[in-house]
Symmetry: C2
């Protein structure tokens, strides 16, 4: 009798590692394969291409009960662009494939593509291909993004060194709290369809964070303008803790995060308290903020210190020191990954 191993036992990253472990790269043009935010492909010239792909499934990654299709289209592009940014590259092309059940009309798809188009214009990427097919259930969006950068500027997860500073490009936890608000309102609505959802104006930025995040192409331009090449980088899609662990694992280092230096918006802090959550937990374990987490050589600190929207939040230490959070109260906690797990 054949055995049956549930995919949940491996988790998303474990499953990818398991399935791709025996594959070998043969093409000289393959500079980097599976295991970073994007693959790196040589072009023959000084520039290299970076390629990343993401699949978004209705009911798993988004809920059309509270996600406007235009925002969804925008976000689907933004999260792929974010992976290209995480390589310190500029996105240039995307392909978009969709599978749709027969409940989707041309007009609803027009909304989705209006969002895709808006994102293409914001990030300067061209839609160059795709596929359109039926699904048995719901909407599935698969996007591949292609970017490029000079080989000397491309940044991997694996370059962090002891003594490097850990930087974050913006506020964390907002998307997670926005999602909690939307889920709470959905439950209220499901319990009583006559109740109108209550979207308080003071929470506007939390809703925007989850429904219409921005990729930080502006940071890639800022790095280039200020002659900064991070030693390592990743985008924060699964929460700070999980991403930090990816960098530390790939770079074979440890890390200290200073709670007081992790940027969290005041409205996120207030909303976290209303939900009886610790704000730093939302930043560490909540996902989908799509800020960049990167490390820099300490000699670059003066270049970074006065740039807008960059927060120096910690330091890379030796591998044996592990990954720890130094709280504002003076305690030290081991950081554990509790990112999203879609299985």
């Amino acid at each position: 009798m054949s055995s049956r191993t549930d995919v949940n036992t491996l988790g998303e990253f474990g499953l990818i590692s398991h399935l791709t472990a025996s594959f070998k790269n043969r093409q000289p043009s393959t500079v980097l394969g599976v295991g970073d935010d994007a693959a790196i492909i040589a072009t023959g010239g000084d520039e290299q291409l970076v390629v990343s792909t993401d699949m978004l499934v209705e009911g798993i990654h988004f809920d059309l009960g509270y996600t406007p299709l235009k925002h969804l289209g925008y976000k689907a592009v933004a999260v792929n662009v974010s992976d290209i940014c995480a390589m310190n590259a500029r996105p240039q092309q995307i392909t978009v494939s969709i599978a749709i059940s027969n409940r989707f009309s041309v007009e609803t798809l027009d909304e989705l593509y209006a969002g895709i188009k808006a994102a293409c214009e914001t990030y300067g990427v061209d839609l160059v291909g795709g596929d359109t097919t039926s699904s048995n259930k719901g909407l599935i969006i698969s996007i591949t993004a292609i970017g490029r950068a000079p080989a000397s500027r491309i940044t991997r997860r694996s370059g962090a060194k002891m003594g490097d500073l850990i930087c974050i490009t913006g506020h964390l936890g907002s998307a997670y709290l926005g999602l909690q608000l939307l889920e709470r309102e959905k439950q209220v609505y499901l319990a009583n369809p006559d109740m109108q959802p209550e979207m308080k104006p003071e929470n506007k930025e939390l809703y925007a964070a989850i429904l219409r995040p921005e990729a930080r192409t502006d940071m890639i331009d800022l790095f280039a303008k200020n002659d900064i090449v991070p030693t390592s980088m990743i985008d924060i899609s699964d929460g700070l803790a999980s991403e930090l662990m990816h960098i530390c694992k790939a770079s074979k280092v440890g890390a200290i995060i200073e709670e007081g230096n992790v940027p969290i918006k005041q409205e996120a802090q207030l909303q976290a308290l209303e939900f009886n959550l610790d704000p730093i937990t939302c930043a560490l374990s909540g996902g989908e903020d799509y800020e960049l987490l990167f490390t820099i050589d300490p000699k670059d600190v003066e270049k970074v210190r006065f740039l807008p929207n960059i927060y120096i939040s910690g330091e890379i230490v030796g591998k044996d020191d592990g990954i720890t959070l130094h709280t504002t109260g003076g305690n030290i906690h081991e950081v554990k990954a509790q990112g999203w797990n879609h299985f």
Copy 2:
């Protein structure tokens, strides 16, 4: 009240045109966007990249009731590689994203990836990335393939000229007849689960055509070796009629196909008759053969005539002459597209 247009009213190609009509390409590196088998991207050097993507949905594109997962993995790669071949380029990298419901175990995914790996080895492509997530229902596979070729060799759909010869790289209709056999056996099984499916050995090649097609990378090598650059090319995924119409539309020409020169295997001819089908109809309207349909300048005819597996099946004529089939009986029929429509 907002209107609701069913996606079926547009068809797959009409829907893609509709959704992408307002998008403009801005990047100088985008040489060719939506509308061919693959997009073309400049690299800065003499070579260009071609990028193609396909999404396969369980219950729409494949039936796991009679499709071994290993074959499915192989085919999913082959159909994407075929799109790269259709540009006269050599595939080098792929990304593979999958969404799976919880009925899939690690062991079944191992089978799927064994097929993906076998295809990567056959075609010399590297698996460089992907995504793995949950689905609400069934298995969805989204693959993006990246190939490259010297700019001067890349072949589009749009270059066919009056007087060019129409060539096909292999037998058509086999995949369609293989599918009909599998569907018939499935119905027998569903009606009486004690009946074992009857897979006659003489139909082996028909089953292979639908379950484990090959992309014609060998033809791309043959073209390069013999200094042949087709004037236009497309892969036959939706049936000869539909693909010929794509070439004629893009090239603004018409075409004559000689029934007697369309390659159809004897076993396919026999099986067609058993199903009360005209073999040429299976070739024109059946899909998934993944042979290449291309046109050559008449001055290249001597280069092509003695190459193995290339059949000269017709000629490009003026646009006003339309697309016609000249039958072995001496009749002339207008060719209409009846390719697959997954909506």
